[in-house]
């Protein structure tokens, strides 16, 4: 299965006035495409912090100590805020816990739904314009550099300019066609609905508006390739202008006849084949004569021939050559960069680093790595892009650490002396001295080495794979990429389009009468409906990953059930990957494919939902399961004694040991590693060690599993 998101070795702490709180301590997990991963734990176990780190919305006092969150080849912990704008909301979206506070109470629902679309639309437009221009420019440069002679050179540059010009014509034609086609489609739908009502004689309010809509849309659909204006313009105009008159005069029969006639024309138009506007754009821009009069299929063939002979073949050949040239150059640079990196590794692994030397090496490396970036590669090599910045921040961190450590140690000594003084006087100080928050210099050096090794490995991988690259396919991809970005420049998200999309979305998440609801305020919605709106907003940008942070905790059982059904349905339809954060195990059983149980910043058990619910192995999971009553529970609930540990002073051994009635001596001394139970099931508890005594799960759980099996047998039998 495709891995959508990989979290590796993540450590997050928070600076507070009392010391450093270690909120997340070395967690690893993968999220596969189209699955739901539930993260379960008490409040304060670090589940929300993890999800916020994925979205890059951690609080200002957070420190990311180590780790990676890899999405789409990028490390989300390292990329710039600018780049994050393109991922947050667009690719990874979030549903928050409280639908009361996550909507703006004084802004209409419609505005809140379309806000992101409009903003993102503008940003996207600007972005695609920049991408298109810069890419075409680098392509032109590469074409010129790789040209065998002067004639080829001038031809390449001319072709690039031509491409720029006719591509825009293409977009114009296509946009006009599409809006007409959509208008035709809407007309057809509306007429079908209205005609049905008219025939049943149940004409409600708002029919005038609907008729007006139909009249407007039917005129909008006039386009050469949809409803041919030459043949139908006059008829369409008379028909649509007469609709309202008929309705007012209550001549429903005449009205129906007219509607059916419009439906007939539009229906015919919808069946027409689509001309190729890309080719047509070239012809109209450069041929200097009107289009030949022939049916669309034939026209398409004719245009293809024309385009190929005049432009495309030469352009593709040039582009292919340019791509190969550019990629070869970047490979060449990779070889030299690898050598540089190996050399630098020595510099960074010395006993104590020299600041000047480090910075010089960093400069050299930055240049070498920058050269390896192929400007014509469509999938950006994120490792090379982020390398320089990550390295620099690690170096800075190191030297800042040297300075700070002195201060921190001194302060710590002072604290210890003060504590000792109080103890010497025979009093209880009432506070403990937190361990000194020393920057771990060795760890930073390790991180640097890891960065360099990873880049070298990556280069080697590329160098080995490059030989098999298909440049013809790559060229086609490049042209598609250019076309797509050009389309982004022209295709504006207007208010009307945004509204249309928003209403469709509201329909999708199950809000009745979306037209009416669109203009209402959040307070006019019930809790469940409000959460639906929040979900709709999260889905507005069509994300890959949906993070649900306790989406149903504030809702009652029936609404909770509905919202969970909705999330499951949308997950199926859109192939979403869902991270579902909750403390309610009943909900987890319903939603999750896999479950990660978190405690004190660590994942203590990890497995499929069957593993967790039927064969759980960690005492904390047992405690969670047995503290929850179900419909057959009669005995006293086994609550977990005590509270989670204060993460300013993280315990030395297993964090759960003090609250664990199965704790052994070793639990207080050493942290348990992850023991593998099966291919999908892991747990971090010493109970799984071969030398550990055999322990049965609590009776409440075994009883419950037995009951569940009985019920299932009853149902089957």
């Amino acid at each position: 299965m495709e891995k959508k998101l990989q979290v590796r070795n993540l450590r997050i702490s928070f600076h507070t006035s009392n010391g450093k709180v270690q909120a997340v301590r070395e967690i690893d997990f993968d999220l596969y495409k189209g699955e739901t991963l539930a993260i379960v734990g008490e409040s304060g176990s670090g589940k929300s912090v993890t999800s916020k780190a994925i979205l890059g919305i951690l609080a200002g006092n957070s420190i990311i100590e180590s780790g990676e969150i890899i999405y789409d080849g990028k490390d989300l912990l390292k990329i710039s805020e600018e780049d994050f704008h393109k991922i947050r909301g667009d690719k990874i979206a979030m549903i928050f816990q409280d639908p009361m506070s996550s909507l703006n109470p004084i802004v209409r629902i419609g505005r809140q739904l379309t806000e992101a679309m409009l903003l993102k639309g503008k940003a996207r437009q600007r972005e695609s314009r920049a991408t298109f221009n810069s890419y075409l420019k680098s392509l032109e440069q590469a074409m010129e550099a790789s040209a065998p002679d002067a004639a080829a050179k001038s031809r390449a540059s001319e072709n690039c300019k031509k491409f720029d010009k006719f591509e825009f014509k293409h977009i114009e034609l296509e946009a006009a066609y599409r809006s007409a086609f959509e208008a035709a489609q809407e007309t057809a739908d509306d007429i079908d609905k209205l005609a049905f009502e008219l025939e049943k004689n149940s004409v409600g309010k708002g029919t005038t508006d609907r008729l007006k809509d139909i009249a407007r849309q039917s005129v909008d659909s006039l386009n050469q390739y949809v409803v041919d204006p030459v043949t139908y313009k006059a008829e369409m105009n008379t028909l649509s202008s007469a609709l309202l008159k008929d309705f007012k005069a209550k001549e429903y029969k005449a009205l129906l006849e007219k509607l059916y006639r419009i439906r007939e024309i539009v229906g015919e138009a919808l069946k027409k084949p689509v001309p190729n506007f890309f080719r047509m754009g070239y012809y109209l821009t450069f041929a200097g004569e009107p289009l030949p009069d022939m049916p669309v299929e034939k026209l398409n063939d004719y245009l293809k021939e024309y385009l190929d002979s005049h432009f495309m073949t030469a352009f593709i050949a040039d582009a292919q050559r340019a791509l190969k040239y550019s990629s070869d150059k970047s490979r060449e640079n990779m070889r030299t960069a690898i050598a540089e990196l190996q050399k630098a590794l020595e510099v960074y692994s010395r006993e104590s680093l020299n600041r000047r030397e480090c910075l010089e090496t960093h400069k050299k490396l930055t240049e070498a790595v920058k050269k390896t970036i192929d400007p014509l590669a469509i999938v950006k090599d994120s490792l090379s892009y982020t390398f320089s910045g990550s390295l620099r921040s690690e170096i800075d961190h190191y030297f800042q650490g040297i300075k700070d450590n002195v201060k921190v140690l001194r302060a710590h000594e002072r604290e210890v002396r003060k504590h000792d003084r109080i103890v010497a006087r025979g009093k209880q100080p009432g506070w403990e001295v937190a361990e000194a928050a020393v920057t771990d210099l060795e760890l930073i050096k390790e991180n640097i080495a890891h960065l360099i090794h990873r880049l070298v490995d990556h280069y080697n991988e590329v160098l080995n794979a490059e030989d098999k690259r298909d440049f013809h396919a790559a060229t086609v991809d490049v042209i598609d990429y250019l076309m797509e970005n050009a389309a982004g420049v022209k295709n504006k998200v207007t208010r009307r389009i945004a509204k249309h999309r928003a209403i469709k979305l509201m329909d999708e998440v199950g809000i009745a009468e979306p037209h009416k609801r669109y203009r209402q305020y959040p307070f006019e919605f019930s809790g469940g409906m409000r959460q639906r709106i929040v979900i709709a907003i999260a889905l507005a940008a069509n994300p890959d990953i949906l993070i649900c942070d306790e989406p149903t905790t504030a809702l009652d059982v029936t609404i909770q059930s509905q919202i969970l059904e909705l999330i499951n349905k949308l997950k199926e339809e859109r192939k979403l990957s869902v991270i579902f954060i909750t403390h309610d195990l009943g909900v987890v059983a319903n939603m999750a494919d896999r479950v990660a149980v978190m405690y004190a910043g660590k994942i203590v058990e990890y497995g499929t939902s069957e593993d967790i619910f039927y064969h759980s192995a960690h005492p904390y999971t047992w405690a969670l399961l047995s503290s929850m009553p179900d419909l057959d529970t009669n005995e006293k609930l086994e609550s977990i004694p005590g509270t989670p540990p204060n993460m300013i002073y993280p315990p030395k051994g297993d964090a759960f040991a003090p609250r664990n009635k199965y704790a052994m001596k070793i639990d207080f001394e050493r942290q348990p590693p992850m023991f593998k139970i099966s291919d999908t099931h892991y747990a971090a508890t010493w109970l799984l060690h071969p030398d550990a005594p055999k322990v049965e799960p609590p009776k409440a759980i075994t009883d419950r599993i037995a009951r569940m099996n009985q019920r299932r047998e009853r149902q089957d039998g």
Partner: protein, 407 residues
């Protein structure tokens, strides 16, 4: 545990809210009884009026109509139903008196008698609504007087001044005591329901102070006792609410309510905002207290597994109406009202295989019932099991029950 003494009786309780011309019927004609020492669960979706019912009982709202009896004393009474009856009688009279051959004088006399009767009832209701606490405190005052006056008469010298002091104290407390303080409430949100600027001692002692207790020592003693009872320690008394975790805060809320030694606690979703493990702690605590003091609890919640675990009897509410009421085992074994069935089908259980196959039953009141002609009423279908239904539905349910009894 529950004996047969009725502690709280709610009769035809209605609570309407007016917003302009629009009247919201938050609670509409709800009746139930709570026996001494039992836990009565009230479930339903959000907005169905469970919380309003709780608040009306404790007189946070003035009820629109109906009666609430606590220990046999009417503590709240609404007048709307009598007013409506008068209005209707007058309208009837207007129609009837115009009929040919009507004895208008007789009708008029009947009407007058009826109106006078209803007005009398309104007066009584208003008196009880306002005066029940006064009467109760007068009773207490009389008791205190009866106890101390003979003592005072006998005592002399130093003892007399001491006794006078004590007598004054007791008298003040008796004057300030209200009947309603024997009903206490635990609120849903432990963060919002505690004043962030008051230390825990003041929060817990507030009720005592309002009741007239002035002796610091007595207050402290009682506060410490309560803290220990709910599983906190003495040192916590001087801290502020924000220094506690969610579960501890809810414990403070519980301590605040039990310091008044109430007989009835209205617990309004006390565990909904808490984590699973903490939820178990709070439920265990409530269970302990209940055994210790023989508390009666009205438990309002929407988490059905918790309600099932905790309650002896359960009432299901839907849109301001009680639709089903039964013993908790009975309700879960034989849910009769379609809404109850839909509610039960929505409970998530920690069993993935069952969960993935679970189908939620959708409840649509318009499709399920036909109340256009025969209006529904609350009927007993089995001993202790009531359902809101009309005649046709009643017959159907009885047939169903017979069928299942045969099996």
């Amino acid at each position: 545990m529950a004996n047969q003494e009725t502690l709280l009786k709610v009769e035809h309780l209605c609570q309407y809210f007016k917003a302009g011309n629009f009247v919201t019927k938050a609670v509409d004609d709800v009746s139930f009884e709570i026996k001494k020492g039992e836990v009565f669960g009230l479930v339903g979706e959000s907005g169905c009026g469970k919380t309003t019912t709780g608040r009306s009982i404790i007189k946070l709202y003035n009820i629109t109509s109906g009666n609430v009896f606590f220990k046999g004393i009417r503590i709240a009474a609404g007048t709307q139903s009598y007013k409506d009856a008068i209005k209707k009688a007058k309208e009837d009279y207007a129609v009837k008196s115009k009929e040919p051959g009507a004895d208008s004088a007789k009708l008029k006399a009947e009407l007058d008698a009826f109106v006078a009767d209803q007005k009398e009832k309104i007066k009584a209701a208003q008196k009880d609504q306002k005066g029940c606490d006064k009467e109760y405190s007068q009773k207490l005052v009389a008791e205190v007087k009866a106890k101390y006056e003979p003592l005072l008469a006998k005592a002399g010298g130093e003892e007399k001044t001491k006794l006078t002091e004590e007598y004054k104290n007791e008298l003040r407390k008796a004057r300030r005591t209200k009947l309603v303080t024997q009903i206490q409430m635990i609120f849903q949100d432990p963060i919002a329901s505690l004043d962030p600027r008051m230390p825990v001692r003041d929060i817990i002692a507030e009720g005592l102070v309002i009741q007239g207790e002035r002796d610091k020592k007595v207050i402290d003693e009682k506060v410490y006792e309560m803290l220990e009872m709910v599983g906190l320690v003495k040192e916590h008394a001087s801290r502020y609410p924000h220094e506690f975790s969610g579960g501890q805060r809810q414990r403070i809320g519980v301590a605040r309510s039990i310091i008044m030694r109430p007989e009835l606690i209205i617990a309004d979703e006390p565990v909904s905002a808490l984590d699973v493990s903490v939820q178990a702690q709070v439920i265990n605590l409530l269970n302990e207290l209940r055994e210790r003091f023989g508390l009666t609890i009205l438990f309002i919640a929407h988490d059905l597994s918790v309600v099932k675990y905790f309650s002896d009897r359960i009432g299901v509410m839907y849109y301001g109406k009680m639709v089903e009421l039964a013993d908790s085992d009975e309700l879960f074994a034989y849910p009769l009202h379609p809404y109850t069935r839909s509610l039960l089908s929505a409970i998530p259980l920690p069993d993935p295989i069952y969960e993935k196959a679970r189908k939620r039953i959708v409840y649509n009141p318009l499709a399920e019932h036909d109340y256009s002609e025969d209006k529904p009423s609350f009927r007993e279908v089995r001993p202790g099991h009531f359902v809101q239904c009309n005649e046709a539905e009643y017959q159907k349910i009885m047939a169903e029950l017979k069928e299942s009894a045969k099996k």
